[in-house]
Every structure is written in structure tokens, then in C-alpha cells.
Amino acid sequence: MSISEITSTAVQSIKRPVGRSRAIGTLTLLLGAFTTLIFGLGANAASKSNITFNPTNLIGVIPPHVGDLSVPSKASCLLLGLCIVAIGLEILLRRPVKGLMVRFGGSAVLFVVGLLIWTVRTPGPAPFGSINMTAVLVGSSPLVMVLVFGALSGVMCERAGVVNIAIEGQFIGGAFFGSMIASTTHNFILAALMGALIGALLGLLLSFLALRYLSDQIIVGVVIVTMLASLSSYLNVQVLSPYPQYNTGDLAPKLAIPLLAKIPILGPVFFNQNGFFYLMIILVGVISFALFKTRYGLHVRAVGEHPKAAETVGIDVIKIRYFNVVVGGAIAGIGGVAFVASYGQFQPGCTSGLGYIALAALIFGKWRPSGAVVASIIFGVSVYLANNLQTYNVPVRSAILQTFPYLITIGVVAGLIGRVRAPAADGQPYKRD
């Protein structure tokens, strides 16, 4: 690192937080103004919005009935908008260095709630006069789950210094072969194992080419995605279409946890899911613990930050990278199975770029499992709303709403919203001297 680089980094690290809090504060203020003016003043004073919490399409365990919440649309949107404005002003005036992302995330949630309240106002344009919060959360939970699997895969690989841009490819591979196994054996444990195997093999391919032959990890990743996309489309025509018994589209059974599943709102969202959902929660805990509380995790992070130093103290850099990329691939492969287990039949292109949103969630979540979960929730819910808001006659095009995760990620990477730092050796090939 040359002198000028060091100084420029130093200057940036001094200058950045101030500009950043100003940018976020302004953005939050705009969000608040939008909520107040468009949603608040745009609603009829007599309108009311119903928020319901009772799941509509549940089979089996049904939590006790909860009363609907009926709020005046105009007043609540104004209130929410002013809350966001207050947060924005607080950021602009106090210039906090920490907790910026939390404040911004909170305002985003308030904004979405305001949008929903405004959307279902009656009398208003919406065909249904109510929004079912539980249904929104339950509906987006499979998306969130798949994103978390993908982001965890990314955490495993990138913490060890290998860029895994092939998450989408591992999703496709896991979804295709997992759906085949699930259709023939009706056993989702076997399907998950198959998905893990395919994902691990793809991870092995990536790590073999990247670690042994020092190929560009991004190129190999992109090519793996292209290869799996075309291979699955090819096999779909050649195998799945003539033999529909290999693609029955069975859904994984919901495993309700006794008692907990009966809690209103939380029950259907967290405790009445399929096995993949619980596996995802366990994996988040295990990976967080392994990465930040164990000797293994220390080694992984050392390898991802400064492989040469890690090698000097006797850590086998290549071995750790192989292990992490293969395990990461397996996790993404299971994510693919989880996708078909929650949505049914495999179709070419069914994962529709979720792997890249998972990559975005990983970055937004600052390469941490917990951050990845928060980012996946934000992105998953926004994608779900984008796909479903049309039913409520929202005058926002779903195409516009769907760009949300990508725009946020661009903002994050460019340092406009928060600042993230990848592991220092992420994506760099390592060669022993």
C-alpha cells in the first residue's frame, strides 16, 4: 500500500461518517415527507383501514382468534410519517455514528406499514378493505428462508476469502435434483441430502478451479450459474417433461410445534413451518457460533482477512477454504430444495435470481449471519409485497417495487447507506510462496 493510498483511506475514514449520516438523514426525511404528504394527506379523512391478524389459509393448527384492528387511515399515516420525519431530523441534528442502519431500517418498516394502511383504506380503490399482516408474514417466510440459506452460504465462503457468486447455480441444482428425489421417494430428508450433495459438488468445482488453478472466482461463479441454468432447462425438456412422475411438486409437510404454534401472529410465522425453516434457524445459530466463538471460526476469519499471516501461524489456508466453500455450497443446495419444497414443481428459471438477492443480503448484512437474516427479511418481504401488491390495486407498478432490493444493495455498496467492508482477502487467489 503506497503512502498516497494510506492517506486517501485515512481521509475517507474521517470524512465518510459525516457525509453518510447526512445522506441517510436526508433520505429518511424524504421518506417521512413522502409518507406524510402522499399517504397521510392523500387519504380521505373518513377512510378506515382494517388490519387483521387471523391466518386465512392454514391447515391443521389454528391459533386463537384475534380481533381486527381498525385504524383511521389518514391519522395513522400522518402519525407514521411524522415519526419517520422525527427520526430523520434526529439523524441530521445529532449525527450519530453508530446505529444509523437500525434507524434507517426502522423508518423503512414504518414506511411499509404506512404504505399498507394507505393501500387498504376503505372507502378507497382497494378491492379488499383489509390487510392481513399474518398472511403477509407467512407468505414471505419461504422467500426469506431461501434467501437466508443463500446468504449463509455466502457468509461461509466469503469469510474464508472465496467469492461465491454461484449461489444461484447451487439453488438451481438443489431445486432440480431435490425436487426429483422428493417426487420419487416422497422423503424430504433424502431430498435435502441430495440438494446438499449437488451444492457441495458445485462448491467443490468452484474451489477446485479457484484454489488449485487460481481461476477468477467471479468468472467461474458466473459460468456455474449459466451452466446450471441451461443444464436444468435442458434436463427439464429431456427428462421432466416426458416423465412427470419425477416432478410431482409435493410440498414439504408443515411441522407445527405444539403449544408455540398456537401463539397468535408469531405461531403461524415461526412455529408452523416445514422442516427446512427450522433447519435454517438452527443453521443461523450454528454458523454464528462457529464463526465468532470457536477456534475454527477464528481461523476462518484469519484466512479471509490475511491468508499469509494465517499461514505463518500454521493455519492451512487452502484446506479451510476448500472446507468452507464445499459446506457453503451444500447450504445453498439445501436452499434450492427448500424452495421447491415450499413452492412445488421445479420450473426452469423458478428461482428467478433469488441467488443474487441472497448475495445482496449477504453484503447488506455486512458478511454476518445475523445481519444476513435481517437483510433477508427486508428483501424477502419487499419481493413478496412487490409480487402481491397488485391484488390490492396499489398504484405502484410491481416492476418498480421489485427493484428495491437491488437499489438498496447498490446504495449500501456505494456507501450511500451505511458502509460495509468485505473480508480483506475476499476474492483474492492465494498461492504459497
Partner: protein, 414 residues
């Protein structure tokens, strides 16, 4: 590895020449493609299950395998380059030239936008930057170009250049965003361009459904048609029946420009120095920020030109499937550029090969019912090997150089 003799072919075979690695990668790609055909073809699998049923069963199985794989690859060849009997017929009788030349004409038609986009990606690679967003930039070029080509009404001499310029403008708009963000915030261009691809894909849907670009009276995501005055006309006239058009001439000009730019111009030299060693570039007074922005401006502009050439020469309108999936020339362009080692002449061969695979793949799909996706599978295997030259050398026992990474932008995120 050490038994080099003076035989010139052998010497070249074992040399460091990247051409051989590329040729062998193509061979490996075709082998993997053949394996994919074999394991998914019921006829072939059945014949192999019968090898112990009778004497000569194994020969029968081999024959069935060769016949089926041969038929697939033959149709790729005859569908994209030339069908020898047809060509011989035209040569001897002087008739039916349209049928004889259609395959190569189709390949050249497909080559034009692919070549232009690949040159754009290649220039970025030469400067050490990975423009993974060529597809989005091409879509943007298509959108702006279609707007100019369908909503303005001008004489051909003005309208065609204006449409092309509009396409370039669209690509520049989409390309300059990652350029500026990388230059001034240090954001990694791969993430930005990757995400922008999706943003632009949704923007395309939005423009097709909710703006004046939508075909009047349509509910679907279909754009207005380009005026005939804004279309690139066939090279040999409409009556020839050959679709090859002025797009390929434009592509040739782009190649000439790229060669001149990279080899002869000062700015191109700055680009290559930046790509080879950013520290040297900085030390020799090259303004890194300016280079980054210009790289993405040029790369995006070329991608946009590719998009508008695709519309103006082939589709004449936009729909929701524009450059989606296997039609995504911006993604194929990345692989073509790698195949051609980022230099303009190499990219010509690469784009001809990949265009031929795509065009021939369609003929194969029609005549043998093997899906077109096989072409994409072969392409990705080829690139996987091209990106890993040492592996290819090991497989073919070429002289192994010390394992060096491909000279590309192997850099981290931050």
C-alpha cells in the same frame, strides 16, 4: 513435458500459445456436450442396456451413440455454417443460392450484436474491470434506441444513425452509473453492475407496460415497432432472402475501432496500463478515476449499441423476453470475451463460434429435438476450461507453466 522435439507442430502444440488451450477447450466442451446427450437420450441408453443381450450388442450400442451424437453435431454445423450437399448443388447448378447461404447468413446476423457487446466487455477487461452488466446496458440501449426508432419519423439517412446513437446513449447512461460509483465511492463494479442488470430488467417491463413506448392498443409487454426507416436493411437487399444485414458491417467497424483504440491511442494505452498494473498507472500519472469512468462509458456505449443493433436488425420491437435467459447476449459476451482473451481479433473468432453454436443449436432443436440449451451448456464448459488454462494443459499433457492466474481482474469486493 520435457520431451520437446524440433517438429514444429509439436513445438507449437507444447508451446505457451493460448490458441491451443482455446482449441482444446472447445474440444472438451464438445466432449462434455456429447456426454450430456448420451446420458439423457433414451435411445442411446437403451442400446447400452442391451450390450449383453446379443453378440455384437456393444457394436450396435456404439453405432447408435455415434449416430445420435453425430446427428446433433452435424445439424449444428450444417445449420450454422454450410450444408455441403446443398452448397454443392448450388455450385454445380447455380440455383438455390439462398438456401445454400442461409446458415452462414444467420450466423453472421447473430454475430453482429454479440461481437459488439463482447468488444465492450473486452475493453473493460483490458483495463482490469469486470463489466458484468453488459446485458443491462444492452437492454437500456434497446429501450432508448427503440424509443428513437419508433417514435420519431425521419428519412432513413438520418433515422438509422440517430437510432444507433440513441442506443449508444442508453448504454452510456447505464454504464456510467457503475463507473461513477466505482470511481468516487470505491464500490465494486461487479456488485453494482450485477444489481443494475436486474434494475434495468424491471425497468424494461415497466416501460413496456406503462409508458408511451408500449404498442398502442396492447395490454401485453410489447413495444411499438421500429419504423422501416430505422431498421438496418439486409446487405443483399430484401429480395435475397438472406437476413445478414448492415449490423455485421457496424460490428466490423467496432472491431477496427477497438483495435486502433487499444493498440494505437493514448487513452487505450492508459487503459491497458491500468489493467496490467494499477500502481504503475498511478505512478505514471494516469488519473485512475477518469480511466474508470471512461472505461464504463465506452464499454456501456458499445453494449448499448449491441442492444440497438439487435432490435434494429432482427427483432424490430421489444418484448418482455428481450435479452432474457439464453438470449442474453450481454452474458454470452462475457464468455466470448474470455474466449478471445479480450483482444479484438480473438473476440471475432469467439463470437463467430458462439453465434454458430446458438444458430446451429436452433436447427438441432428442430431436427433432432435436442433442446437448444445444449449450446449454452457447451459454451459454459468451454469458458470454464478457458478460464483454467493449466487444467487444460494437464488434461492434454501440454507443457505446464507455473500455475499463474488468468490475467484478469482477480480482486476482492472492497
Amino acid at each position: 513435458m520435457s520431451n520437446r522435439t524440433k517438429a514444429s507442430l509439436w513445438a507449437r502444440y507444447t508451446s505457451k500459445s493460448p490458441v491451443f488451450v482455446t482449441v482444446f477447450s472447445v474440444v472438451l466442451g464438445l466432449v462434455v456436450g456429447a456426454l450430456v446427450i448420451i446420458v439423457t437420450s433414451p435411445v442411446i441408453l437403451h442400446s447400452w442396456s442391451q450390450i449383453f443381450a446379443s453378440w455384437g450388442g456393444i457394436f450396435h450400442a456404439l453405432k447408435v451413440t455415434l449416430d445420435n451424437v453425430g446427428a446433433a453435431y452435424r445439424s449444428i454445423f450444417t445449420g450454422s455454417i454450410v450444408d455441403p450437399p446443398q452448397f454443392w448443388h448450388s455450385l454445380t447448378t447455380g440455383k438455390d443460392w439462398t438456401a445454400a447461404l442461409t446458415p452462414i447468413s444467420e450466423t453472421l446476423t447473430y454475430t453482429a450484436p454479440l461481437l459488439i457487446a463482447s468488444i465492450g466487455v473486452g475493453i473493460a477487461f483490458q483495463a482490469g474491470m469486470f463489466n458484468i452488466g453488459a446485458n443491462g446496458q444492452a437492454v437500456m440501449g434497446g429501450i432508448v434506441g427503440t424509443a428513437a426508432g419508433s417514435m420519431l419519423h425521419l428519412p432513413t439517412a438520418v433515422h438509422v444513425p440517430l437510432t444507433l446513437l440513441a442506443g449508444i446513449l442508453g448504454g452510456v447512461i447505464a454504464g456510467i452509473i457503475p463507473g461513477l460509483l466505482k470511481a468516487f465511492t470505491g464500490a465494486h463494479e461487479v456488485i453494482i453492475t450485477l444489481m443494475l442488470n436486474y434494475v434495468i430488467a424491471f425497468f424494461l417491463i415497466y416501460t413496456l407496460l406503462s409508458t408511451a413506448l408500449q404498442q398502442p392498443g396492447q395490454q401485453n409487454d410489447v413495444s411499438r415497432y421500429l419504423d422501416p426507416t430505422a431498421q438496418l436493411s439486409p446487405l443483399f437487399g430484401a429480395h435475397s432472402g438472406l437476413r445478414v444485414n448492415w449490423g455485421i458491417i457496424i460490428a466490423g467497424l467496432v472491431v477496427a475501432f477497438a483495435w486502433w483504440f487499444l493498440e494505437r491511442s493514448t487513452l487505450g494505452f492508459d487503459f491497458r496500463v491500468t489493467g496490467a498494473n494499477p500502481k504503475t498507472a498511478q505512478a505514471s500519472g494516469i488519473n485512475a478515476k477518469v480511466v474508470i469512468v471512461l472505461v464504463f462509458l465506452i464499454s456501456g456505449g458499445l453494449a448499448g449499441l449491441a442492444g440497438v443493433v439487435q432490435v434494429s436488425s432482427t427483432t424490430h420491437f421489444l418484448d418482455g423476453g428481450f435479452l432474457v435467459g439464453s438470449a442474453g447476449i450481454g452474458f454470452t459476451a462475457i464468455t466470448v470475451s474470455l474466449l478471445g482473451r479480450n483482444n479484438p481479433i480473438g473476440i471475432i473468432w469467439g463470437s463467430l463460434l458462439f453465434a454458430a453454436l446458438n444458430v446451429g443449436g436452433r436447427v438441432m432443436q428442430a431436427s433432432t429435438s435436442i433442446p437448444l440449451d445444449l449450446a449454452t451448456i457447451i459454451q459454459s464448459v468451454i469458458v470454464l476450461f478457458v478460464a483454467t488454462p493449466v487444467l487444460v494443459k494437464e488434461i492434454f499433457r501440454l507443457r505446464v507453466e507455473h500455475a499463474e492466474a488468468v490475467q484478469l481482474s482477480v480482486k476482492g469486493w472492497s
